[in-house]
Subunit: 471 residues, 2 copies
């Protein structure tokens, strides 16, 4: 992947930050005008590049609505810190200017007592709205949704609806208003139409005649992944969240869905690497927190690997009798780990994208059986050749029975690759079945599981093939 953009952007923020720094120290009054044309996301990047103690001064130098925009784009932790440090009255002013979903997210990240104090200082309408959003778990549709959406009574005419929309637009509400929700007298969602469809509608027609009846909705308790899946499946820019009576509670907008997709993917990638998912970006995670996320799995895997040592101990006499056998142990067992890692990464991702469901395990097993066997025969063949060629070319002396040794290595590799492939492919299904996250089937876990089996298989094959010769 290429990342030209971010490189550029980082340097823009890095380039502009010193200028802003100078202005903050000499002419703070000119900052608002100087940065007027900046996108709030860029101003947030600049704020993050400034020395930490100057960020509050930057926010003070901006008009409140602008500062609230910058806060919306700021890193979660930094935002929580800044708001906690402020006078609660002032924090309340900024929060009231933020979109309802970002406001709730910001409060969620803060110390609870401080958050309560700030919430008290927020105007009643916004406070009630925020308290309603705060009752939902952050990882659900309710926790993601915003309450800024536009609903129109279905019995209105197009002109009435358009006039109402205009009024709302002029009132300066900020969330996207591209989709309108038609509701009946009880407030139940009856249809969805785009602003464009409203504009295209013949004059005098009623909303009920226009609004599409195919509506995709979610419950507020739905997992955020379900929301992401719907958005991606149906190419939506907003998903309405409805209660049991089909009354619309809010909407989840596509920008938040993109964040969800990226966060979920990051979690899966980190789990597959064999650690607990981080809550913050790498550089913002302390060394101590990184150790806490990484050490438990490493210890579990280390203890798991001790079974390999135990298995090897069981065959100590065979190793003593034929030391040459031990030379190929890492080669043999790693081939199982590698083929298992391939299969696991394929299956975990296919399950995450919902290309594979729990019921597809048997189909996957049949395919992977063939693939594991062919891959095993390929690698096993190379293994056999390696031993024979080295002996012939005089690169190494494996003794009189090098041919049998070659067959031992080759046969074991076939078995280990087949076993590794099947273990790697089936483990995610098994974990899902017993209620765990299939993404926990990490590459190191598969490798560790396969290593023990590899050792046992290797010496068993050796005992069968080499008895009476080397053993």
């Amino acid at each position: 992947m290429s990342q030209p953009k971010r490189e550029r952007e980082r340097s823009v923020a890095a380039l502009v930050a010193p200028d802003i720094l100078e202005l903050l120290e000499t002419e703070p009054g000119s900052i608002a005008a100087e940065t007027e044309e900046f996108h709030p996301a860029d101003l947030a990047d600049i704020a993050e590049a400034l020395p930490r103690e100057l960020v509050p001064r930057l926010l003070t130098a901006l008009p409140s609505a602008r500062a609230a925009d910058v806060l919306e784009h700021l890193d979660d932790d930094l935002r929580a810190e800044l708001l906690e440090e402020m006078d609660p009255e002032r924090a309340a002013v900024f929060l009231a200017l933020m979109t309802p979903d970002e406001r709730a997210d910001a409060l969620e990240e803060m110390d609870e007592e401080v958050a309560d104090e700030i919430l008290e200082a927020i105007p009643e309408k916004e406070r009630v709205e925020t308290e309603r959003l705060l009752q939902y778990e952050p990882e659900t549709a309710g926790g993601l949704m915003t309450t800024e959406f536009v609903s129109v009574p279905e019995n209105q005419t197009v002109e009435e609806a358009l006039a109402a929309v205009r009024l709302i637009a002029r009132a300066g509400r900020r969330e996207a208003m591209n989709t309108l929700y038609a509701v009946d007298a009880r407030g139940a969602l009856r249809g969805v139409l785009s602003l464009r469809e409203l504009l295209a509608a013949p004059e005098g027609s009623r909303i009920a005649d226009l609004a599409w009846s195919e509506i995709v909705t979610v419950a507020p308790t739905a997992d955020r992944e379900e929301v992401a899946q719907l958005t991606s499946n149906y190419d939506l820019i907003a998903v309405p969240v409805v209660d049991a009576e089909h009354r619309i509670l809010g909407v989840v907008t596509v920008d938040d869905v993109i964040d969800v997709i990226q966060e979920e993917q990051t979690e899966d990638a980190q789990k597959f690497g064999g650690l607990e998912a981080l809550e913050e970006p790498y550089l913002q995670t302390s060394v101590l927190a990184l150790l806490r996320k990484r050490s438990p799995w490493l210890l579990v895997l280390f203890v798991g690997q001790m079974f390999t040592a135990a298995a090897m101990g069981f065959f100590e006499n065979e190793i003593a009798a034929a030391v040459v056998l031990s030379l190929f142990i890492p080669l043999v067992i790693s081939s199982g780990g590698n083929s298992g890692s391939q299969a696991t990464s394929l299956i975990i991702r296919a399950i995450a994208l919902q290309e594979l469901g729990a019921r597809d395990w048997a189909r996957v097993m049949r395919r992977e059986l063939v693939i594991g066997l062919v891959l095993g025969l390929m690698l096993g063949g190379v293994g056999v050749l390696r031993v024979i060629l080295w002996q012939w070319m005089g690169l190494y002396t494996f003794g009189d029975h090098y041919f049998l040794l070659a067959w031992t290595v080759g046969a074991t590799v076939v078995g280990v690759v087949l076993f590794g492939t099947l273990t790697g492919a089936m483990l995610p299904f098994l974990l899902k079945r017993i209620g765990f996250d299939p993404a926990s089937a990490s590459a190191p876990l598969v490798a560790t599981l396969v290593d023990v089996t590899g050792v046992v298989l290797y010496f068993t094959v050796a005992l069968l093939l080499l008895r009476g010769t080397l053993l």
Copy 2:
């Protein structure tokens, strides 16, 4: 992750497909009416669940515009096959009804000769548009963009622009029209405004006074990842694509960006698992294609692991003198692979999300040095305890020098974990530096690199600590 939705959806498609199947055989004329309320994405799911030979019959049973909608949501390969089989005139009708970007994508997937024949049969306006889109590489902004967007002259008044937008909306163009692009007399992009802002604008004002001047644009040759990054950074629902003269060529819409994000992540996950990225979903990839994607890396890694065998051969005399040493080889080397896998997954993902740039390598190295050392000391300590406790508890007899053996294992684990962590963390930076994809630093590659070093380190430490005793 939980996947309740897709489970449900799969069963809906599976449940409904037999009914559709029956209707296709008994009353094909009623299908259009029976499925009228279905979302095209759902109808596409149903089509995919039908026996392959019946899919063309389903398309025939639907009105053309509806069939075109279903084709837009269908799996790429199936769609290409269906269109190739059709009479070119008929395929041209469907293609002309599709959005320009989907039309170009569909032609891109087809056999070139058939595609040319179909293109000939498409009405001129749509054909020219499509040919323009086809000149861009599929993985660039130009390859992703649609040419259906609405631009308004900046010197128009709000009323004129609104009337023009209404006309376009009534003409039934289908792509999202939520964003309007203000252009000057030369056609250069001057500003962006939402339909909502147009509605909110005071009557009589001119577009030039409304349109924002902060415009985020990309070149048609920009990598699709850059488009995804801009969309996600600035919370956009469409990114305008402009030429060198800043004239707008098209827009990339957010639904395509979501697909890009998911595809890129799938590629990265598969590469990290140690295989070449697949072009199609797992179940649609043939066993032969899977073997082609998986065997090259497995062979490379297998050959790489042969160096471990060579390294072990170098120490054959030491193994023969102290067989007990060999028992801990898998344990010792795997601890390096596991800690390397953790570090690599963290760094690759942070680079993909552009949280880390090429210049951050030294900072990362300093952090990982501390982390690797602490993790190494933890695991090494457990390793020392393992040997000593097993000996004391009589679980295994390592001989008189078990204490020295314990220290050999412990010291090696510290070194191997530290080396594995640093290798895993630095490899993505190194790959990026020399022009490769940092995501190629797969878990198996890191493990293989670390294994050879682990073996050498283990026997070097053993020679230092056990000389005169075991060796």
